[in-house]
Structure formats: C-alpha cells, structure tokens
Amino acid sequence: MSAPTTNLTAKSDKAASHVKSSERTNLYLVLFTMVAATFVGMLAVGIGLNDGGRQLGFAWLLNVWFVLSICLGAMFFVGIQHITRSGWSVTLRRVAEVTGASIVGPVILLIPVLIALLSGHGNLFSWNDPSYVAGDEILEGKHAFLNAPFFSIRFLVYAMVWVSAGVWMLKTSQRQDRTGDKSLTLKMERRSAPILIFLALTTTFASFDWLMSLDPHWFSTIYGIYVFSGGMTAALAVLSIVAAVWVKSGRYQSLVTAEHLHDITKMMYGFNCFWAYIAFSQYLLIWYANIPEETIWLKHRQAHGWDAVTMVLMFGHFFVPFVVLMPRVAKRNTNVVIAVSSLLLIMHWLDLYWLVYPQFNESPILGSMEILGAMFAVSFTAVVAGWFAKGEKLIPAADPRLPEAVSHHVA
C-alpha cells in the first residue's frame, strides 16, 4: 500500500505545484483593480441616486449574501465529506475548504451594514426604524429579537462560528499536506459533527435575521433550509465548474477525472432537486392555507414583474438543469457541466434577488448597482480566497484516502 501511496503523493505534489508567481501577481492585480473599481462605482451610483443609500444597502446585502451562502455551502460540503469518510471527493475537497474559509470576506463586508444598523438606519431593515415600528403590535412584540444591538451580537456569534470553523478545516487539512499525519483526518471527522450542527443553526438564524426580517411581519419555518439548499447547490456548482475546468485542461490528470466530475455534478443535481422540493413545499403550504399574513409575501413576488422572475427561477433553477443533466453523458461532459453550473450560479443569485429585492421595490430593478455589487462581492471574496490558497496545494496530497479518490470509478 505504501509504495503506490508515495507514488501518488509525488504525483499530486507535482500536479498541485503552485500557480506560477507571475501569473498570480497578474491575477491579483486584476482582482484588486476590480474590487476598487466596483467599490467606487457602487458608491458613485449610490450617491447619484440620492436615496439615503437605500439601494446601495439592498444591493450590498444581496451580493454579500450571494457569496456568503456559497461559502456556507462549501463548508457544509467539507463537513459532510469528513463525517461520511468519503474517499471519492478527496481531490475536490481543498477547493471547498478554501471557499469555506473565504467566508471571512463576506463576513467583513457585512460589518458596515451592522454599523449602519447600530447608528439607527432603518433604510434596509424597517424594524430598525422606530417610527415604522411604533403602533405596530406585531413589530413591537418582535422588538425583543429584532433590535440592532441584539442583532449585532447574534451576527458576531455567527461570524465567530463561521470563520473559526472554515479556517480551522482549511488549516488542519493544509497541515496534513505538510506533516502527512493521518490522525488529522480522524480529528477533522470528529470535529465535523459539532461543526455541522453549529453551521445548521447559524445558517438558519442568520437567514432569519438578514433575509427574512427584511419583511419583518412575514415568517416561514422552512426559510433557513431554503437558503441552505440554494447555497449548497451553488457551492456544488462552483466545485463542478472547477472540476470541469481541471478535467478539460488535464491539469490534474488522474487526480481529477470525468469520474469525479460525474459524481460532483450528480451531487449538485441532487441538491438542486432538494432546493426545488423545499421551494415547492413552502409555496404549496402557503398557497393552500391561504392565510393573508403569509400569502402577502408571495403575492408581492407574483405581481409587477416579479412574476416573470419567479417563472425564470422555476425554469432556470430547476427544470432546465433537471432535464439537461439527466443523461449520464451530460454529467461527464465538461462543456455541459460548465454551462449548467454557471446557469445555476446565476440562478442562485436570482433566487436571493427574489428573496431580497421585492422588499426594496414594487417591481424588479436590475441595473448597474446590482451588477457592480455582484462583481465587487465576488472579487473581494476571490482576493480572500487567493490569500488562503497562496503557497498551498490545491489538492490534499497527503490525505490517506487519496488513493481511493484516484481509483474512483462510477459504476
């Protein structure tokens, strides 16, 4: 066993050799420029609107959550792989680990929102506007939960959990690269159970806090699972794209093959169906019971142009990927996978847009602010990801289950 393992390690060492430093510098230059340019652009557009920063706030929240939910999904992925002792996914795990640790990025980006909240802005979260809450029996009842200080404290707790879990999982795995200590695998497996529990709770409550409370009257118990399923699908879409690009370029040859692509795409397919299932369940139950305080939320999303967004989501997020990726050959074809996964990423953005923006405006608004915001949040997080990946391997070369991943074959 040892001989092939060393052989493999050498191979993966070679394959996982760092990106050339000159290339990296160029990439960084582009990313930094993008971060700066988009940030300035957003501010400029925001000032030009003269709406007290309202649209800026909504665009900011939407795009930061787009990245944040993907990072959370990646962390869930890593935790699930550890806890199930998966062998097939080892070669793709590092990408997920880096994505998970990059949650530092969106967490930093949410802090300005907290500051705005604490300084009494009610532009984004209407429950922070005392004149809006006054006289509203329900909102006054929720004040114990929906108030800026408690909200901030909760966010700090979530941020601590996310950052510590994400960074720990990445760093431990990277340490294994260097030391080859097999016991680290067991350690990560053991810690993954509590990590997953904390992730589940924080994801749920963070989505209640940051997204659901945008309409402070409305509520849905499944909301946390809905946000999770979307983020998980998007994270797997990122992984499929990476796997497809690697397979296509032949960069890791036997380490990342069509077999791995097939399985990661299948997992994405499954979670996308899960997303559709959760979305359908939520919609059906609210539609059927027909209680005004609940249906009003969906009614907003079925009028004034939002109906079109809803239909695009239904087809683009579910039906098209469901049908296109159904045949086995599609899941092993790099071009198809890249196309569908990119579609899913856009659809995940649109899904969050569908959750957030009806609270901003009666009809959909999609302009420079939203696009700049997306570019800003993504490039900012990419810088963070680059910082985490710097000088490290992109494949967990010393993972004891690497040979299993290499010999992985889809039956």
């Binding site: 919609y283 059906l284 059927y288």
Partner: protein, 452 residues
C-alpha cells in the same frame, strides 16, 4: 471426462447423445472472465455466462448492448405525469366541476403530488416489467436445470454455456478449449426439447377452467345492468337505507291517538311564532286580540282537539268569533318618507298588477281579463272608493294578509312591515284624489298646475 448425472437411469454412450452445447464450470469470476475472453477471441458468438453475483466487466467481454430500460422509465414517467395532470383537470374541472375551499377548479400546484406519484409508479412498472420480460422471465423450463452441477450457479460457481448453434462449435475442440481455460468440469447440455417449454397439461386445464369461471361475474353484472327487474335491489350493505324511525303520516302504537306526528302541546308556541303585538301583527287592537288567539289571522296552528266526529269540523267553525274585530285605526309603526317609498315599491310589485298603478282597479291583469271576457273575474274595487277610504288601517292590513272575497291573502309574499308600508302608501295615494290645493306645499303647487 464428462460426468453422468445420477438421475439418468441409463447412461447412453457419449457419442450417442445429441449435444445441445457445452457447459463449463469455473471456480472464480476471474477464471470465467478470462475464459469468456478467450472464447470471444476465438470467434465464438453464442456464449452465455452464469454467475452467482453480477460480474463487472463481463458485458464488455460479451459485447452486450445498452438496455431500453431507461427509455421505458422515461416513457412511464411522462405518461404518469401527464396522465395525473389530465385526471385532475378533466375529473375536477370538466366532468364534475365543484368548488372546494375556494380553490380554483384546476391548478397545477395541488395536481402535482398525484401526477408525481403516478410518474414514479408507472416508471417503476416499466423498469420492473421491462427487466423481467427482457430477461426472458418468467421461464418455466430451462434445459440447464437438468444438469445437477448447474445448481451451484446460484451459489458459488461460475459457468459458461456454449451453444452448439455457434458457428465455431465442435464438441471436442470446444471442450479442449474450455479445459485449457481452467474449467473444473465440463458437461454436455441437452438439446432443446420442445415438449419441455410447453406448460404441463393439468396447468393448462386449470387455467382454462379458471378463466371461464372468472367470466361469470362480469357477465352477470353486464346482464343485470342491461335488463329491468321488478324486484327490489339487492342490498348487501344497507347503508342506512332502512332506518328504524317514524315517518310522517304513519301510525304509531306508542301514542294513544295512534299517530306518529305529534300535535303541538297545549300552551306552547314554536320558536319565532310568539307574535304578541296584536296591533302590529294582526291589525287588531290589543284587548280584542287576547280573546281571539284561536284561528287568528297569522295562523297559530290549532290542532283538532275534540273527538273526531262526523260534524267535528263544523263545530270548530262555530267556535270562530263572529263579532267584528276592533281594527287598529292608527299605524302601529312610525310613518315616514322611507316607509312610504318602500310601500310604493312593494305596491307596484304586488298590488298594481290588478289594482293599477293609480289604484283605480285597472291593472294589466284586470285589463287582460276583461278583454278576454272571463266571467269569473271580479274587477277589483277602486281603492279610491269611499268605503275603502274609510276603512281603518287594521282592516286594510287584514285584507292584505288574509285576502277578501276573491282576493287571496298575501301573507306568504309580503312581510309584516311591508304590509304596513303598502298601507301607508295607499293612504298617500288616496290623498292625491281628495287633497285640496292648500294642502299641497307652496313650492310644489306651481308644478302641479303645469301637469294639469
């Protein structure tokens, strides 16, 4: 070399057996795969491998094609999905539309669960049925089962069967080839016996008898549905068709009078029937009304209380008060413009058809009846006639409620309050013929002259 099965009583010499093929036994999956490869390389086509568990890679060796099962599943799913949606739409929105809990007659949302379940069910049927049928199952007889060693094919041994139909097949040569491929035992396969593939005669007989018997119930049902019968229907489960209760107009031995319908108890009143404001409900003054409850105009139901005799009915008639009631002379309700307007509206609906819009007894029905020269028709009295003008309002009320001479009572059509409203309007109508100019308000007077 070849073993003779112990079940065969007489073992003919090998050369005499007609060989249908060869069955070679192997110890492991690896051996059988390499043997199959070898035979394929030699050009053998008609091979089949038997194993106790699926062997990966054997399909490639045998050059097996993909299966139709996924397509079957897809077809089943599509039929199930569309069929489910169609049922929900056609059954609930077209053939038997009914609204329930405010839901639309048809909507995709609540139709999806059933459509989804049917899609899965039909796809599963297609896969299951397809796998069974394409696998050549069920197969009641198989020549390989006559070789006892083959029993281990489902246990721990691997077999290759080379059919003699194969172009390359030569008993000895093939046998040698198989031996070289590490076969541990080689058996000759009997030729296909056409008798074997037939069902045993008793099976066929039983099947025929059963299918004929199975036809009897549907035939009986079909006959029952297409013919008429005077017999009461067969009721296996009564479904509350026959309930042990007393129905109206039947006898009942529990009561002395033998009737199942019970009269009202003396001194009781049905809910909502207590109408003690005599002036309002009957148009008769209070003290007078108290004595004439029995058989009053509003019809508190009075049951026969005396013994049933031949002249019983007449005696009851005698009990009716013969004296003229003390009619109410003042309206028991406050009279204002809205009441009069209401009265006008009701008058024009109920009264004007005979009495005429102006109350002159020239309504459309009257005109028509006179035109037809109907002898039975009595022209209604003009409402402006002196006796009518002088009738107290109570009497007018009584006329509306209970009718007079040929005029029927309108109690069932016109509610109490509306009767008073009509009377109030009637009084105003009557006034139009008798009023003097100084009774008309000054501002209206000029207009009236113009009309004249």
């Amino acid at each position: 070399m070849s073993t003779i099965t112990p079940t065969q009583p007489v073992a003919p010499a090998e050369s005499e057996i007609e060989v249908g093929g060869l069955l070679a036994e192997f110890r492991s999956a690896a051996d059988v795969v390499s043997a199959a490869k070898l035979l394929r390389r030699q050009g053998y086509q008609n091979l089949e491998v038997y194993s106790p568990h699926p062997i990966h890679g054997i399909d490639k060796v045998l050059n097996a094609k993909g299966s139709l099962l996924p397509w079957g599943a897809l077809a089943g799913a599509i039929i199930g999905l569309t069929g489910g949606l169609w049922m929900a739409w056609w059954m609930n929105a077209v053939d038997y539309p009914f609204i329930i809990s405010g839901k639309p007659m048809f909507s995709f949302l609540p139709s999806l669960p059933v459509a989804f379940e049917l899609a899965i069910l039909l796809a599963a049927f297609a896969v299951f049925g397809g796998a069974i049928a394409l696998g050549g199952l069920p197969r009641p007889a198989n020549r390989l089962f006559r070789i006892p060693a083959f029993a281990r094919a489902t246990n721990d041994r691997f077999f290759i069967c080379v059919d003699e139909a194969d172009a390359k097949f030569q008993t000895e040569k093939t046998k040698t080839l198989l031996q070289d491929a590490r076969s541990v035992r080689i058996e000759s396969v009997p030729v296909i016996d056409s008798r074997e593939s037939k069902l045993p005669r008793p099976f066929v007989l039983v099947a025929i008898v059963l299918s004929v018997l199975a036809l009897i119930p549907p035939v009986l049902i079909a006959k029952a549905r297409s013919t008429t019968s005077t017999l009461p229907r067969l009721s296996f489960i009564s479904d509350m068709d026959h309930q042990p209760k007393f129905k109206a107009q039947t006898t009942n031995s529990l009561f002395a009078d033998g009737r199942s319908m019970r009269p009202q108890m003396a001194g009781t009143i049905a809910q909502g029937d207590l109408r003690d404001d005599s002036a309002f409900y009957r148009g008769i003054q209070e003290q007078e009304a108290a004595g004439s409850v029995s058989g009053d105009s509003e019809g508190n139901v009075t049951f026969l209380t005396g013994t049933l005799t031949a002249n019983g009915v007449a005696s009851i008639k005698d009990e009716q008060p013969k004296n003229v009631p003390k009619w109410v002379t003042e309206f028991p309700v406050p009279v204002d413009e809205s009441l009069i307007r209401r009265g006008q509206q009701r008058y024009e609906i109920f009264c004007a058809t005979c009495h005429g819009i102006g109350g002159d007894g020239d309504g459309l029905v009257t005109l028509r009846a006179l035109e037809l020269e109907q002898g039975t028709w009595v022209k209604p009295t003009s409402l402006h006639a002196e006796p009518i003008r002088e009738q107290p309002v109570g009497q007018l009320y009584n006329t509306i409620a209970n009718g007079v001479r040929k005029m029927p009572g309108y109690a069932s059509q016109i509610p109490v309050r509306d009767r008073w409203a009509i009377i109030s309007y009637l009084r105003a109508l009557q006034k139009t013929r008798t009023a003097t100019a100084d009774e008309v308000p000054a501002d209206v007077l000029p207009n009236m002259r113009e009309l004249n």
